[in-house]
């Protein structure tokens, strides 16, 4: 095993694999920054270039480009309220408020360093978990997936902000949006109103771009000025403080990385949910939970460490069973076959060095990406000081392109525009917007697994041990949240 680990490391540092990894990292950062064209896009575009490469170079390029895309995505998320990749949406709940408070540098430092640490932990878990992979994955069936989705939905109550009623309505609205399109069980058209575009459902990216980026630009344009009016010279250099924050909250980073990794391992939950789970977890467990959503560094660290760790987790079932743990891994699976590799026990026995090489690549790519971004983080933080008049057309165009590139459909432009206005109204009338995204992400996962559970295990599906444990988590989450809210109300001065 140690021999394979060392051989894997040597292969990563051998030429030309190292060069391909560096190239991949640069591509990954650029692609991550651009809204709408995320890690999946870079994988799909780069696969044809790997046909004639050896396996170590091919995976260095592909994983080098894929691993840091969420790191790059954090930059526009924090500075412009425009998620580079849909999973970055959870980072904007506190990342953008930090920018508005004049702490863009600190937020960037925390996001980049927690991404790097999360990525390294994800790679470490990949190596540690491979021997115990099989029983872990087999523990999860549709009832557990359904209850995992319910845990996510319970977090709606946690991050609803001041008004629980508004939070629940917005969360319900998000869930209903997620149910638009062809029903997976019966192929019935639901809420499509005869529009072919809606058969495929409403995609996460255009909704997120509209609700957050377009809405923010409308607000900046209406109010005038820049995103941050309060940034002072000393705070621009807050990157180091952000890095320090990551290490001060090392246990939060570790817990969220474990959470992200577990969600990444389980095929069927959808890696996009990892960041929301991590955010909800941080909001529940941190001492300053009342301040979440107003720009606290823990709200940036938690989702970033989880989304970068989940890719290491998603590699586990891909390698061990040939079952992709995320959409990105499904594309990567194609690369395995192009290279003549067959994922599964055969790969574990005969190409263990390659698995280690992949783990090293994920870890190194995350560190390199964070280092490259940090080198420019101070300059990038100045974007927050630019007059909103400059940003307004540029961000609107980026949103339009990002929405269109999601699936090359003009309908997504309409969705972005509509949700831009909805997002602005929600912000103005103090409705929580993040819960809409959580609902949208979890709706299909919950529905599909509810139907499967009912068919396979009938009405007693919730009596399985892990399902019972998850039900308890849902109950504890709701009870603690409601108790906290009651206490807050009681403590308010009359």
């Amino acid at each position: 095993m140690i021999e394979a680990a060392l051989l894997g490391l040597a292969k990563v540092f051998a030429w030309p694999a190292l060069g391909f990894m560096l190239l991949g990292v640069l591509i990954g950062i650029v692609v991550g920054i651009l809204p709408g064209v995320g890690g999946l896009f870079s994988l799909a575009v780069l696969i044809p270039f790997t046909f004639k490469m050896d396996p170590s170079s091919a995976f260095a390029l592909l994983l080098g480009a894929h691993a840091p895309s969420y790191t790059g995505g954090a930059i526009t998320t924090i500075l412009l309220n425009t998620p580079g990749d849909p999973p970055n949406a959870a980072t904007l709940f506190d990342g953008f408020p930090m920018t508005k408070k004049g702490q863009a540098g600190r937020a960037l430092g925390a996001a980049l360093s927690s991404s790097a640490v999360g990525g390294v932990l994800g790679a470490a878990f990949l190596i540690l978990l491979i021997p115990v992979m099989r029983p872990l994955v087999l523990l999860f069936a549709p009832p557990e997936f359904f209850m995992m989705a319910m845990v996510g939905i319970a977090f709606i109550a946690v991050i609803s902000g001041k008004s629980l009623t508004k939070g629940l309505i917005a969360g319900g609205f998000g869930l209903l949006l997620g149910l638009v399109g062809l029903d997976m069980s019966t192929s019935v058209e639901r809420f499509t109103f005869g529009t072919l575009f809606l058969w495929d459902g409403i995609h996460l990216a255009p909704v997120t771009l509209g609700l957050f980026a377009v809405a923010e630009m409308i607000e900046v344009a209406v109010q005038g000025g820049s995103i941050s009016e309060t940034m002072v010279a000393s705070e621009i250099g807050g990157v180091l403080r952000g890095i320090k924050d990551t290490f001060t909250h090392k246990w939060l980073v570790f817990r969220c990385a474990v959470l992200g990794n577990i969600i990444g391992i389980i095929p069927g939950i959808g890696g996009d949910t990892a960041c929301f789970f991590a955010y909800g977890h941080a909001r529940q467990t941190e001492k300053n939970r009342e301040q979440f959503g107003t720009g606290v560094v823990e709200g940036v660290i938690a989702p970033q460490s989880a989304i970068n760790a989940k890719e290491g987790g998603a590699l586990v079932p891909t390698i061990a069973f040939g079952i992709p743990g995320s959409a990105g891994m499904a594309i990567l699976l194609g690369a395995f076959y192009i290279q003549g590799l067959k994922p599964g026990p055969d790969m574990l026995n005969n190409n263990l060095w390659l698995i280690f090489s992949m783990a090293w690549t994920v870890a190194l790519a995350n560190i390199l990406a964070a280092a490259v971004c940090m080198a420019f983080a101070n300059r990038m933080a100045r974007v927050a000081l630019l007059p909103g008049d400059y940003l307004f057309p540029v961000v609107l165009i980026l949103c339009g392109i990002g929405a269109y590139c999601t699936r090359n459909a003009l309908g997504d432009l309409v969705v972005t525009a509509i949700f831009g206005f909805v997002g602005y109204a929600m912000k103005k009338f103090q409705w929580p917007r993040p819960v809409v995204i959580i609902g949208l992400v979890l709706a299909k996962v919950a529905e599909k697994n509810l139907h499967l559970s009912l068919r396979l295990y009938h009405e007693t599906f919730f009596l399985r041990p892990i399902t019972i444990a998850l039900i308890l988590i849902v109950i504890v989450t709701l009870v603690l949240t409601l108790r906290g809210r009651r206490r807050e109300r009681r403590d308010l001065p009359a």
Binding site: V45, L175, V222, P393, I401, C405
Partner: protein
């Protein structure tokens, strides 16, 4: 009682959820299970929220200026109406961006929209407007088209002209 934008928004949500519930009832039992489980409680909460907001508004003392009413001098526009006028103009700018993407495609829109937004809306010097527009176009072309080879939408008008002049 004054019917504000907040109330319009609440009523719109209630109507939307009401349509959702009515539409969902028409589906077969499997297809409507989840939509009804979610939409009925959400609809009830939305109605309760709307009623509570109306009642709160009734109790609240609203300063005349925020309602868009004239002050005693009668001549100056109020902060409320000025803000709504600004919002309306920005909304039109946002709509025009998406309409221009549809009609002219991303490449022409990037240049044209950036230039018009900076020159007409923000009243920047034409040199600055031109420089930022050219910069945006160059970035789009170099990164998206040349670098990533993304197939960007060309625009309804451009496609029609191409068909008229070149036959494809």
């Amino acid at each position: 009682m004054r019917f504000s934008f907040r109330h319009t928004f609440n009523v719109a949500i209630v109507l939307l959820l009401g349509i959702y519930v009515i539409t969902a009832i028409g589906y077969n039992p499997t297809a409507r299970l989840m939509p009804l489980v979610v939409s009925i409680p959400t609809f009830i909460l939305a109605v309760l929220n709307m009623i509570s907001d109306f009642r709160k508004q009734g109790r609240r003392v609203v300063p005349a200026e925020t309602c868009g009413l004239r002050n005693e001098a009668g001549a100056q526009p109020t902060a409320g109406s000025e803000s709504h006028r600004k919002e309306l103009i920005i909304f039109l700018w946002v709509v025009s961006a998406f309409v221009s993407f549809y009609l002219l495609g991303f490449i022409i829109s990037t240049f044209l929209y950036t230039f018009l937004s900076l020159k007409v809306r923000s009243r920047f010097h034409w040199g600055v407007s031109l420089a930022v527009s050219v910069g945006s176009l160059a970035f789009l072309y170099l990164v998206m088209i040349y670098g990533l080879r993304v197939d960007l939408y060309q625009g309804k008008v451009i496609l029609m002209l191409r068909k008229a002049f070149f036959g494809y």
